[in-house]
């Protein structure tokens, strides 16, 4: 059987991840939760390394929605990191945010939209924006690494000051092609 090794081309991700991290710090974010994604790996590392941020690994994405609600009740600003395949998992839990008008910010790395090699990623990737929007979440897109600070800052204001639920979809183009190497 062929063994498949996977490599993520993250050469470009370092700078924008740091820009996102700094912007979240500027907004006083105190809790980060995540279901891992390669595209978020740098931000997850920065978050874990920061003693002022309580970082929580989740078993499924909707846990992070509920966690964000609890954090806000207790006075903390929270951010949920996930990849687009996890968005569908959140649908019913987003009712909690809408019913209570909880501020909510999630950063979603996209799959299934740019040079995607895995057909299984495509249905949820194509539905990601609509899935958020049918539950009342405002969707912003981050397509260019240079815009990271501006887009995340706008999203954070809308969420924490405007009491909105906001998702920033981070383009798969920005994250880089996933390189697969097959070896015999």
């Amino acid at each position: 059987m062929d063994q498949i090794a996977v490599h993520q081309d993250n050469a470009t991700s370092a700078d924008w991840a740091v820009a996102i991290y700094r912007t979240l710090k500027d907004f006083g974010v105190a809790q980060v939760s995540y279901v891992p994604d390669a595209g978020h790996s740098r931000l997850i590392k920065l978050s874990h390394a920061d003693a002022a941020i309580k970082t929580t690994v989740l078993t499924t994405e909707e846990e992070g929605v509920a966690l964000s609600a609890g954090a806000w009740l207790g006075g903390d600003r929270a951010v949920l990191l996930m990849q687009s395949s996890g968005v569908g998992n959140c649908i019913n839990m987003l009712s909690l945010m809408a019913s209570c008008r909880f501020p909510f910010l999630t950063l979603v790395t996209m799959r299934g939209e740019w040079a995607e090699f895995n057909p299984w990623q495509i249905p949820m990737g194509k539905a990601t924006q609509q899935a958020m929007e049918i539950m009342g979440v405002t969707v912003l897109r981050l397509e260019n690494p240079d815009d990271a600070e501006e887009v995340i800052s706008a999203a954070a204001s809308l969420a924490y000051d405007g009491d909105q639920q906001v998702a920033v979809l981070i383009s798969q183009k920005m994250i880089g092609r996933k390189k697969w190497t097959e070896t015999k």
Binding site: G70, C100, R101
Partner: protein
């Protein structure tokens, strides 16, 4: 007819847990758990869920991490906890010392016609919680156990802890807390000293 799963009266059990609540903050799972909490006495430090099934323990975790100097109690049912069973792993690895979870277990889905739950069909929530990594797990079948758990949850360093409380599956009258989520949120935050902006 629903099979009797435990003998404790749910209302009496929750009332006893909260008898000397001090600065305890409480999150309740949707359905009967929210009615029980409200029946024990409405309080600004209560956050009643009316939906978000499977999310009670995670709301409790976010709150416990934000308020490490306050004890936080999640009161929920077996069905609600089962839907969010993965959250027990998330709570266990995060180790919030101030978080306690009380699962009122009657082995049934009480809100929807008393269908038997996985717990009623043999799943052992206390074993699952221990397997998840929660070390302080108790099974409670009498009021003495309730009193001991009520005292223990004030200790901010002993958590996370989980109690499986075997309650009777008998129907009780509904006691309905406010349903306006924004009101409940703002009331709760005001209780903690956060201004409504």
């Amino acid at each position: 007819m629903a099979q009797e799963f435990g003998s404790l009266d749910r209302r009496a059990a929750v009332k006893a847990l909260l008898a000397d609540r001090g600065d305890l903050l409480v999150v309740s799972g949707l359905g009967s758990s929210s009615y029980d909490l409200f029946d024990a006495g409405d309080h600004a430090g209560n956050f009643y869920l009316w939906g978000a099934m499977g999310g009670a323990a995670m709301v409790g975790l976010g709150l416990a991490l934000a308020q490490p100097q306050r004890p936080v109690l999640v009161i929920t049912g077996d069905g609600e906890q089962l839907m969010g069973i993965g959250s027990l792993l998330t709570v266990a690895v995060k180790k919030p010392g101030n978080l306690s979870i009380a699962v009122l277990d009657n082995g049934h889905f009480g809100e929807t016609g008393m269908q038997m739950s996985h717990s009623g069909l043999g799943a052992k929530l206390e074993v699952i919680a221990q397997g998840a990594g929660i070390t302080d797990v108790t099974e409670i079948a009498d009021m003495k156990g309730i009193d001991a758990f009520g005292a223990a949850l004030k200790d901010l360093r002993g958590g996370p802890r989980l109690a499986r409380i075997r309650i009777s599956s008998g129907e009780v009258e509904r006691a309905l807390p406010p349903r306006d989520g924004t009101y409940l949120k703002n009331r709760f935050r005001a209780h903690l000293g956060f201004a409504v902006t």
